[in-house]
């Protein structure tokens, strides 16, 4: 019983670590997607853009079914907004004697899962149009964030693999202890004609039960921590990323975690019982 409890607690800690990483990952992902929905494309125009070139751009925006709205920002309005933004934030003298900002279009897109990809493709198309000076949609920042998310994914997988390997070792040792504590009974079972399968089943079930109990315990504790953090920090999170909800591990991943944990228990106990029976039956 003691070894069972130790094993369950170890599994709970390992699954807890993995679960914590998953929560962080999910929330970063959700932050990225909520931020993505706010991304708009700004098309800066050359000062000497001709009316025909402007019309051509307007047509391009109009022909794109995923464009929600287009707004033209004149040089004067851009300068006004810039000065307003900076007011009180900087002591810079902004009286340059001329307006350095170009006229631009602010293009908003409809919400969709591949919204960012579409903006990226559309930006590339617009960039080469005559009369366009440059396009801007926070490309560098998004690229960096996406690279970071790829790193997170790899990190999660590596941590998951390492923890799984560690868990297999721990559970197989616990099951081995359990086998030794029932050695007399197992030997007798084999002596009187039990199949290896018959001997293995209780231990396989024990391994799976350890996995199930460990993962449930850990997810229960993670749930408590999650609700505490959500109550304490939801307002601050909303202030940073408007409309973003602090998320728990999604249901499919919860099932995957519990399933993987039971599978690890099964594999670990299979290894120990298989080795033990092989030795006993062919000593």
């Amino acid at each position: 019983m003691q070894t069972f409890v130790i094993s369950v607690v170890t599994i709970a800690i390992s699954i807890g670590i993995l679960g914590l990483f998953l929560i962080i990952f999910f929330n970063l992902n959700s932050f990225l997607s909520s931020w993505n929905q706010q991304v708009q494309l700004i098309v800066y125009l050359e000062d000497n853009i001709s009316p025909a070139q402007k019309n051509n751009l307007k047509n391009l925006f109009g022909d794109n079914s995923r464009v929600l709205s287009t707004e033209e920002v004149s040089k004067d309005r851009a300068w006004k907004e810039f000065r307003l933004d900076l007011a009180g934030k900087s002591e810079l003298d902004l009286d340059l004697g001329f307006n350095p900002l170009p006229t631009s279009y602010r293009v908003r897109f409809k919400s969709s899962d591949d919204r960012l990809l579409h903006i990226r493709e559309f930006a590339e198309k617009i960039r080469s149009e005559p009369g366009v000076e440059s396009v801007e949609y926070g490309e560098n920042w998004i690229n960096r964030f996406e690279k970071f998310m790829v790193f997170c994914r790899v990190f999660l997988m590596a941590t998951g693999a390492l923890l799984s390997f560690g868990l297999i070792l721990i559970i197989s040792n616990t099951i081995r202890l359990s086998i030794y504590s029932r050695q007399e009974e197992i030997e007798l079972m084999l002596l009187i004609g039990a199949t290896p399968h018959f001997v293995k089943i209780p231990f396989l079930l024990e391994g799976m039960l350890q996995g199930l109990s460990g993962s449930m315990l850990s997810l229960g504790l993670l749930g408590i921590v999650y609700y505490y953090l959500k109550n304490e920090f939801q307002t601050s999170i909303e202030a940073i990323a408007g409309g973003m909800d602090f998320q728990f591990i999604s249901q499919p991943f919860l099932l995957i975690l519990v399933g993987a944990s039971m599978l690890i228990g099964l594999i670990a106990s299979y290894i120990s019982t298989y080795q033990y029976i092989q030795v006993l039956n062919k000593r």
Binding site: E185, L191, I192, G193, R283
Partner: protein, 218 residues
């Protein structure tokens, strides 16, 4: 039924525990296996039910080539053999009834038949009044009778007994011998390992004598 051909068994690098043993035991025979300690009696029995490997030779039990059986299929051999040990090998936390029923549970026999067969086996060894007792509460002779009931409950064609009277006084030993003889009369082949001359004298059966891993007389 049981055949050994030039069997050699070694433990480590010393002299072999079984040295080129060949013997044959026919169906329905009652055979005593005797010899001093270390002669190889227990080793032969262990080889017969697949609990020990051997280096050379061939062993056939009920037509099964024991040396060729892998761990996954060993149960097919063991289900045709009932084994009785000097130290009884009873599970101390199970009752007498549960110990005997256990031998059927591992073969997945249904509950109703298990109950019936267990009763029958306990009746044959005269232990029904003790069915709810635990092994430590029984005398040596009673414990050995439980072990015999467990070995016979699945009606195996072969029964191997390793010094089954080794811990018992003469009167009880005679009772136990009679139980084996009754099993033999019912058709079981019995291989009874003992070093007790009294038992050999009491039972009028074929005797195979071993000494230092060799067959001295068949």
């Amino acid at each position: 039924m049981i055949q050994l051909f030039n069997v050699v068994k070694k433990y480590g690098s010393g002299s072999p525990a079984l040295d080129d043993i060949s013997l044959k035991i026919g169906k329905g025979e009652f055979v005593f296996l005797t010899g001093p300690s270390g002669a190889g009696k227990t080793t032969i029995l262990k080889i017969l039910f697949g609990w020990e490997n051997f280096e050379e030779g061939q062993v056939l039990v009920q037509g099964i080539n024991v040396g060729k059986l892998d761990a996954e299929n060993m149960h097919t051999l063991r289900r045709s053999i009932g084994v009785i040990f000097q130290d009884y090998k009873l599970l101390s936390k199970k009752t007498v009834f549960e110990n005997v029923a256990f031998a059927q549970e591992v073969t997945n026999r249904d509950r109703k038949t298990t109950k019936f067969k267990t009763w029958e086996a306990l009746k044959n060894v005269g232990l029904t009044p003790k069915k709810d007792s635990f092994p430590p509460q029984l005398s040596g002779g009673e414990q050995q009778r439980v072990a015999i009931a467990r070995a016979m409950v699945n009606a195996p064609p072969i029964i191997l007994a390793d010094e089954p009277t080794g811990n018992l006084d003469q009167e009880i030993s005679l009772e136990i011998l009679k139980l084996f003889e009754e099993l033999n009369r019912n058709g079981a082949t019995i291989v009874f390992a003992t070093h007790s001359r009294d038992i050999l004298k009491l039972g009028n059966h074929r005797v195979i004598v071993l000494n230092r891993g060799k067959v001295v007389s068949l």
